[in-house]
């Protein structure tokens, strides 16, 4: 029997789908649902780490689904995709544990677990697939399942149901539009090259480019992909849905959306542009760079004025994803390394902040920071954890965000993008400002207007809610103090991204049945 380890890529995608089916059938037994979904999520985390270590030591893995030879769908696990899968599994495992106590019982047992499993399947699928149409299918899967999750109710019901509906409507409409654009782009690519396999497309396009017959509309297709991935990642002109969707979702889902889901856009940009559209990159690098700068500026300025804690974090996500795209737009090994380090740090720190804000909202009974204040006395642990996350996002030295920002700015200065780095650096100070403002409003001083808004509720955070946040906080600190492994991994990944030949060889040089 072939060892199970070669099947890990498909197991990571198919197991959540199987679990989703079981969860639907087990709707009447919340106890079994809880244990089973957490156990499976833990196993997935272990499997994803095994996959990453296999790829690290043994090179890129290609997996033929259904053994259809050259017509079939290929799953490819290289360092980028397996690293992203580890990140997804880590954040989703912790969010799932957190949601056990946070989500209202009724929504939890009705549709929460199956949708969460499908979301994980969609994320893992879009990271692991080597087929561009399959990427589209997984985008749809994660869009629809995340829509269902945004509507799920948290305990206490802080967010009005009508707000959730409005946010979901915006999310659905804008993302459906971008799905249509993606479909057009994929079919035009198919019409140009006659294949959907990303490695094959890459070979054919570079052959055309070498012969000087690259059609002009390849640039148009590339532009469409900028729109698609920009919309997924909430890049400047397309970021309007995010500040509505991420705050109205229940906190563990906000953590998934901000932590992992918007990174799908960055992943797609790295995969598609550095594998398929290498020849158009000279034109699109400045485009991506200026869009990234605009995103940083708009996100940071909007975040300063927010009074809603989760909305502030959402705008901060917009601003921070701009830094990731800035690193991508440098296009050098160091730049991409910095972007990946930034991506991992932001994923961990921002999901931690969203989970912490869930605890704060649970305690305060409102999302409005003006009605809080003095919380350092009544919830000291939450304020400590919020401080860790906020300082990491702002880039203060002992934490992970510092390493990320340092390497990003160093890369930019090394490439002599002084103007871009100047803007990014200036708005990094904005980050510090709005994070401190939130800290002061929520934790410092006295509880504001006790007569008007009442005292804090006695809802503390339970152990199941605290534990995931503490684990994430320790990860943030570890990324800052002992950053070498992450940087080494990101560096190896960047080498792999910029040299797509091993990827192409792994996909195309297979024994065909």
């Amino acid at each position: 029997m072939i060892s199970l380890s070669t099947h890990i890529p498909i197991i990571l995608i198919a197991t959540p789908i199987l679990v989703a089916a079981l969860m639907i059938l087990l709707r009447k037994q919340p106890g079994i649902q809880k244990v089973l979904s957490v156990a499976v999520s833990f196993v997935m985390l272990i499997l994803s780490v095994i996959l990453l270590s296999q790829v690290w030591s043994g090179g890129i893995q290609a997996y033929e689904v259904g053994e259809w030879g050259k017509y079939g769908i290929i799953l490819v696990a290289d360092l980028l995709s397996s690293g992203m899968v580890v990140l997804t599994s880590f954040v989703s495992f912790l969010s799932l544990i957190y949601s056990l106590d946070y989500i209202e019982r009724k929504s939890l047992s009705a549709s929460y677990y199956p949708l969460f499993s499908l979301l994980v399947a969609g994320l893992n699928g879009s990271f692991l697939t080597g087929d561009i149409f399959n990427l589209f299918v997984f985008f749809e899967l994660l869009l629809l399942s995340s829509c269902g999750l945004v509507i799920a109710n948290e305990q206490g019901g802080v967010t009005k149901s009508s707000d959730k509906m409005e946010a979901t409507f915006k999310y659905l409409v804008l993302n459906m539009l971008s799905s249509i654009v993606m479909l057009i782009a994929v079919s035009s690519l198919y019409a140009t090259t006659g294949t959907l396999n990303m490695a094959d497309i890459s070979v054919k396009l570079s052959a055309m480019s070498a012969a000087g017959t690259l059609p002009w509309y390849v640039f148009a297709i590339a532009l469409m992909f900028v729109v698609v991935f920009g919309n997924k990642a909430a890049i400047f002109p397309l970021h309007y849905w995010l500040p509505d969707v991420h705050p109205t979702a229940p906190s563990p889902i906000s953590a998934m959306l901000s932590g992992v889901l918007i990174k799908v856009g960055a992943y797609g940009m790295l995969r598609v542009f550095f594998l398929i559209f290498i020849d158009t990159l000279d034109i699109f690098k400045p485009v991506i760079m200026y869009l990234a700068l605009a995103t940083i500026v708009v996100g940071a300025i909007s975040a300063v004025a927010q009074t809603d804690v989760k909305r502030l974090l959402a705008y901060s996500s917009v601003s921070q994803i701009g830094y990731v795209f800035l690193g991508i737009s440098f296009g050098s090994i160091y730049g991409i390394t910095a972007a990946l380090v930034y991506l991992a740090n932001h994923a961990v720190a921002k999901s931690m902040l969203f989970l912490t804000s869930g605890g704060i909202i649970h305690h305060a009974g409102t999302r409005d920071m003006r009605k809080m204040g003095g919380m350092v006395d009544s919830a000291p642990l939450m304020s400590l954890l919020f401080l860790v996350g906020a300082m990491s996002i702002a880039g203060m030295p002992p934490l992970g965000g510092f390493i990320a920002k340092l390497s990003l700015f160093d890369a930019g200065i090394g490439e002599q993008y002084y103007f871009a780095i100047g803007i990014a650096l200036f708005f990094a100070i904005f980050t510090l400002f709005y994070m401190f403002r939130a800290m002061l409003l929520m934790f410092w001083g006295e509880k504001r207007d006790v007569e008007k808004y009442g005292e804090y509720s006695h809802h503390g955070t339970s152990l199941l809610m605290t534990l995931p946040i503490v684990v994430l906080a320790l990860t943030v600190v570890a990324f800052g103090i002992y950053a070498e492994p992450l940087i080494a991994l990101a560096n190896a990944t960047a080498h792999q991204i910029l040299d797509p030949q091993p990827y192409i060889d792994a996909v195309l040089m297979r024994v065909v049945r």
Partner: protein, 138 residues
């Protein structure tokens, strides 16, 4: 919508369309048809009876939990796909067997057919649970 004509037509259509949807399901894989199309057809005729006779009347004697059909179908499809791993093949690899039966002649038995049946139930369950939830007044 609940005129006598609609009700009579619905009564005639119901068995015919269900049988046709099953024949589409079985025709799939190599010919036009398959689980998705068959499932949509089945769901459409059940939706027609809901419209013609009223949701409450139908619910009084025939009220399955369509969500469970969805779950069952997804489970069947996923397990079929997984079973290839147990036979040390890649995921989704289909097994093919030709059987000779009296009357029917040569029949191609494909394990992908089980997957198609799963898809059939997923589509029925998904569409009808949406239809029923949206149609309910509560």
């Amino acid at each position: 919508m609940t005129t006598l004509i609609t009700k009579t037509v619905t009564k005639i259509c119901l068995p015919l369309v269900i049988l046709f949807s099953i024949s589409l399901l079985l025709a799939g894989h190599n010919n036009p048809g398959g689980g998705f199309i068959g499932g949509v057809m089945f769901a459409s005729v059940i939706a027609l009876t809901y419209v013609a006779f009223g949701l409450d009347y139908i619910k009084s004697f025939f009220n399955p939990d369509w969500g469970n059909w969805f779950g069952f179908g997804l489970l069947l499809a996923a397990l079929t796909a997984f079973s290839a791993i147990a036979f040390s093949h890649n995921f989704f690899r289909s097994a093919v067997e030709f059987v000779h039966l009296p009357f029917f002649g040569e029949i191609e038995l494909v394990s992908a057919g089980l997957f198609d049946i799963g898809v059939y139930f997923v589509v029925i369950g998904g569409l009808l649970s949406i239809f029923k939830n949206v149609g309910d007044d509560e």
